[in-house]
Amino acid sequence: MSEFQPDKTMLRHYLQNKLSPDDETQLELWLADHPEALADLELDLLMQVGVGTSENHEFNVEPQVNIMSKFLNGIAYVLAAIFMSQLIFGKYFVNDSLTFIDLDNMRGAENIMSYQINPDQDLILRFGVLTDDIYQMTVNNPEKNKSFQFFNLRPNERLDIIVKLSSNQVETGLWEVSVTGNTNTRQIIYELEIRSE
């Protein structure tokens, strides 16, 4: 028979989860033989949980997850927020000085994609390519007889091509963006409707 006998401090630390795993095991096995002490601790536990909820810190019924999972969940939430913002705001990002348009979002779309921009903002166009080729891009607005050409566009390490149009180049209206590779000359065409805020 074990001579183990917890004192008040140990019981208090047990309630507050401050015992070592070995001490906790020893105490819990001791409780199996001491129903009176168990009954007292049951009441303490009830109060502990009840007081916790009374502090407006409602106990979360969802299982706890480790820090890495929380971190990954956090990233997932951020990505989800970005995705939702793209859906809601027309698949472009806006900050104080520029508007970002991801042309890849238009692939497979039947309709012309419409973007609302601030006339004072520069426009960043991004599109992904499949090979490390040299590309050229034409941004054309037939209605307003405006056209800009960009040559020798080399994709970055993520096979993205990024082109910047300054605010004085961008006007509202229907724009056609065509991209052609030097090796693969198949032309990819995007249609953009730019509207003013």
Binding site: M1, T25, L29, A32, D33, A39, L43, L45, V49, G50
Partner: protein, 242 residues
């Protein structure tokens, strides 16, 4: 040796004897084993996994695992059966946490429908939940702010005794008395609420607060459930009444 030590030693011996009885195929030993340890194990599970639901699922599955292993002769030392039971419950609890979903009991829900007693233990879950709500309610009614502070700092904020003493300007010896009195006042308020709520209700209406101290209904009913479950899993064995 004191009476308390003798009683403790007897309980410890009894657990080993019941484990041997289960290994020998004695059905009554199974139900007695559950009755003897249900409350203890439920307390451990509730404490370790305070922020999740399904405590009784974890406890019941733990008993099922341990009793099955005993019956199959897979436990080498029956005298340490309680340590094994405790570890099993903790592992099942963590499995629940890892799965990040409602605990999947070892027995499918359709099978549980067969047993009328299977749902009886839900009552003790409700009582526990009602007790928590009651604590929450009476915390706002405590007569002194210091009672609220010491209970909150001790129970919720898990602050150390010296820290609480410093905050509330208490001596070390005074701390124990103040905490004890605050707990007593909380208990009295809970009892008062309980008595008030019971007016007009059926006399046999359960009392969440008092149940925590005295009720032995849950373990008996769950023991019945475990018994029925074992019988269902091992139909060749005769089911004995609990």
């Amino acid at each position: 040796m004191t009476d308390q030590n003798t009683e403790a030693e007897n309980l410890s011996k009894k657990a080993g004897e019941l484990a041997r009885g289960i290994m020998a195929g004695d059905q009554q030993s199974s139900s007695q084993f559950v009755n003897l340890h249900y409350r203890w194990l439920l307390f451990i599970v509730r404490k370790k996994f305070a922020r999740v639901s399904g405590h009784e699922d974890i406890v019941q599955d733990s008993f099922l695992v341990v009793i099955t292993k005993l019956q199959q002769g897979q436990v080498s030392n029956p005298d340490t059966i309680r340590a094994f039971l405790r570890t099993t419950a903790i592992n099942i609890g963590y499995e629940y946490l890892r799965k990040d979903k409602k605990y999947a009991s070892a027995v499918d829900q359709d099978s549980l429908e067969v047993f009328a007693d299977a749902r009886s233990d839900v009552l003790s879950s409700l009582e526990w939940d009602e007790g928590i709500k009651l604590v929450k309610q009476v915390m706002t009614e405590l007569p002194t702010e210091r009672d609220r502070q010491i209970l909150t700092q001790f129970y919720f904020e898990d602050r150390d005794k010296p820290d609480i003493c410093e905050t509330l300007d208490l001596s070390s010896a005074h701390f124990d008395r103040v905490l004890y009195r605050a707990k007593q006042r909380l208990k009295e308020l809970m009892q008062k609420h309980q008595d008030h709520d019971d007016v007009g209700k059926r006399p046999q209406q359960s009392k969440p607060f008092s149940t925590v101290k005295t009720s032995n209904k849950g373990p008996k009913l769950v023991s019945k459930w475990i018994h029925a479950l074992i019988a269902w899993c091992h139909p060749q064995r005769e089911v004995l009444a609990v």
